[in-house]
Amino acid sequence: MSRMLTVLPERCSGCRLCEVVCSINRFGVNNPKKSSIRVIVIYPHPVIRMPIVCRQCKEPKCQENCPTDAIVIKDGYCDIDEEKCISCQQCVMSCPFGAIFLHGDMSAPFKCNLCDGDPQCVKSCPKNALLFIPEHTLGQAHRMASVLKYTKMKEVEYVEKGERKILRYADIESGKEEK
């Protein structure tokens, strides 16, 4: 089952813990400027905080534009083969999300490699703004919300263990109205 690193910017507080933990795990240093994830904060127009991280595109622009075929896809993620990389920064410029990064100390650009299938940024996020979830579940919150928003619902009140509860169900009768 292939999993996807997903960002929910509405939850992000901009604390940058994902950046720190990434730099530690990836390069063994405490340096948020050497992380493969970056929190972008825009304020006050508009007000948003959003971590930028590689989406592991299935048809990656970085790969398409790499002149030396240094971008390789393995185990569901895209990586930069430093042997082949000539550090021309073509991939950095090609990524539509800006999710490939550079640092003066580094000979090659770097990007998210999903930490061998256990992304540390997801673990460290105190706001659950980063999720690592099965691909097919993407969009399920919206699917669920649209079902629950469906207006032709009826309610039945009942009592369970002394607590008043509501059960909702779709009304067959009102469904008949639509011809």
């Binding site: 507080s13 530690i24 240093v29 405490n30 007000v47 100390d105």
Partner: protein, 611 residues
């Protein structure tokens, strides 16, 4: 002992008179003795006192110092201290901010930055790793802190810069002007913005790229992983993210120690209209956190309708909501947000501003000042229009605002009759807790080294909980403990809120320090250093003429009992306070007049002057 991490051992010294910057190497002994942050600031101010003339003289220093733990993978490591001789009080002053500004300074490779002298024209300081430049830019004159961040990022073509700036108030030398960064993180107290303004420095702009030195990263990660887990599992963790310090409003109001109507009353009838729940329900649009902080106590609020519609603010914090809310008799949360946004953009401290406006309103109510003296202004409690107007007037130094802009001490010179209703200590306006319900809190305000601020000691809850069974000895001891441990957080460059609010074990910080620096140290040893430095700030203040006479809470604490609420009738007994103060001095090893061993301190802290 040799330091193996935690410090770059570098201080960046900028001399604006000469127009140059140089790196001063810090010895291991220096780093270990002063720890960092506030500690480095104290030493530099102490050494500079012989050159010092007045707070707004170019010879005064501004020290910006994160700590050895700033920017590291551990809870809430985004704190930076700003230290100076305060134009608000004329004595030692400091304030700190969260966000990411200090982290960036560290990443540029410096443990601290000291600025002296005065630039010829309005300028900003541009620190790009090893390259430092003083950039003249008179076009920035009059720009608000928010707008300025955008302008500089655009000019330098980098969205990732960290910028600390002053607003119009700082340029106009308002004595409680603040320094703002990350659109709403403020080093608010003691008028640091005015000191930068007096140096013609509009902003400090930093880009840093370096690895932060850590001796044992593996060990640090181990302790921190467990620490984050502990915090996340705390029962109030989620609630804290939801409301942050705004949750304190209900606690303080229910306890009856809410500054209401200029600290006259202890409970506000409209509190439910300005509390954390009201904020969450109607105004909050997001959480915000300082660097590496899981608690995300910052709230981003937006006014969605009415005459303040469109007001966006990172805040309010408890203090601001209180000082513009109950303290001014205001129950319109939208107006509090507007006042907060204005103060942030103009660059003035919300605590001092709210406090002083409250004084004016009460003064007019009591007939202590006339309408003419206030330039025709007729003030009422909860008077939205005039409050907003006064904020503008203070920052721009117009009319009565021009007098308020010089702070408590000058206001009292002009209107001595305000003395009984002006809540201040040593010239710093009191922050938002009533000192009358707890004598230890009154002592905390009175003996804080910067004036009436709660950051040094907050024994209020403990005393309310302990009631009468709590002796003066214990009260003095708790105040001293707070004044030792709380400043230690400012020295390490971390936030104290995980400890205060979510019960995080303070001993963990000694473990962090040991793992990061490779120097094994206990919490007691760290506290000892912090305590020694409290003697130094006292010594700095003694040299400025401070003595026992200045260590009293505001007059109202003695003269007017709390009129209503659960603490009704409470007032500080003068005799009891005198006793407590004497015990406090004894426990600190200071004499009857509050003077520490000046010769001993001179000797102990006479190590090499750095700059």
């Amino acid at each position: 002992m040799k330091i193996k991490g935690g410090y770059f051992k570098k201080l960046l010294f900028v001399d604006l008179d000469k127009g140059d910057a140089r790196v001063v190497n810090l010895s291991d002994e220096f780093c270990l003795k002063y720890i960092g942050g506030r500690g480095f600031g104290i030493k530099l101010i102490w050494d500079n006192q012989k050159n010092y003339k007045s707070p707004l003289d170019p010879q005064n220093l501004v020290v910006v110092a994160p700590g050895p733990l700033s920017g590291l993978y551990l809870p809430s490591s985004g704190k930076t201290s700003f230290v100076t001789m305060s134009p608000a009080t004329g004595i030692y002053g400091d304030s700190n901010m969260g966000g990411s500004f200090g982290v960036e300074l560290r990443q540029a490779g410096y443990d601290a930055l000291a600025i002296k002298g005065k630039a010829k024209k309005l300028s900003y300081l541009w620190i790009d790793d090893d390259e430092v430049e003083i950039v003249e830019n008179e076009g920035l004159k009059g720009k608000g802190c928010l707008e300025l961040e955008g302008i500089i990022k655009n000019d330098l073509k980098d969205d990732h810069l960290r910028i600390a700036s002053i607003g119009v108030a700082g340029e106009n030398l308002v004595r409680f002007a603040c320094i703002s960064a990350d659109w709403g993180r403020n080093a608010g107290r003691t008028g640091l913005g005015a000191v930068l303004g007096s140096k013609n420095i509009k902003a400090i702009v930093i880009r840093g790229s370096k690895d932060l030195p850590v001796f044992d990263l593996k060990k640090l990660k181990e302790i921190s992983d467990a620490s984050f887990e502990k915090l996340k599992n705390h029962k109030y963790f989620t609630f804290w993210q939801q409301q942050g310090l705004m949750s304190v409003i209900d606690y303080v109001n229910e306890a009856g120690v809410m500054p209401t109507y200029n600290f006259r009353d202890g409970q506000f009838s409209g509190a439910e209209k300005i509390n954390g729940y009201e904020m969450e329900a109607k105004y909050k649009i997001g959480d915000t956190a300082c660097f590496a902080c899981p608690m995300a106590c910052g709230n981003i609020c937006l006014v969605k309708e009415g005459k303040y519609s469109g007001t966006v603010i990172e805040g309010p914090e408890y203090e601001t909501a209180c000082m513009f809310g109950p303290n001014l008799g205001m129950n319109n949360f939208a107006c509090i947000l507007k006042a907060n946004a204005l103060c942030d953009d103009l660059g003035i401290d919300t605590i001092s501003t709210g406090n002083l406006i409250g004084v004016l309103i009460e003064a007019q109510e009591l007939g202590l000042v006339s309408e003419e003296e206030l330039g025709g202004m007729r003030l009422k409690w909860g008077d939205e229009e005039n409050i907003i107007q006064l904020i503008h007037d203070i920052a721009h130094r117009k009319g009565i605002g021009n007098i308020l802009a010089d702070g408590s001490l000058e206001l009292l010179k002009k209107f001595p009759q305000l003395s009984p209703i002006l809540s201040q200590v040593k010239g710093l306006e009191q922050s938002a807790y009533d000192g009358r319900a707890a004598v230890s809190m009154a002592l905390g305000f009175a003996t804080s080294d910067i004036g009436a601020h709660h950051a040094r000691a907050w024994p209020l809850a403990k005393e309310l909980e302990m009631g009468k069974d709590w002796g003066l000895e214990q009260k003095a001891e708790l105040v001293i403990y707070h004044q030792t441990v709380r400043p230690l957080f400012d020295m390490l460059g971390v936030c104290r809120l995980p400890w205060i609010e979510l019960g995080f074990d303070e001993n963990t910080y000694a473990e962090f320090y040991s793992a990061v620096t490779g120097v094994t140290i206990s919490m007691d040893e760290l506290l000892k250093k912090s305590n020694d430095l409290y003697d130094v700030t006292r010594a700095i203040n003694i040299k400025m003429g401070i003595s026992r006479k200045d260590d009293y809470p505001p007059e109202r604490c003695f003269s007017t009992p709390i009129p209503s609420g659960p603490q009704a009738g409470k007032v500080i007994d003068r005799e009891e306070y005198e006793k407590l103060l004497t015990i406090y001095y004894q426990k600190r090893g200071w004499d009857e007049n509050g003077q520490p061993d000046m010769k001993g301190i001179d000797k102990k802290f006479s190590d090499k002057t750095l700059i």
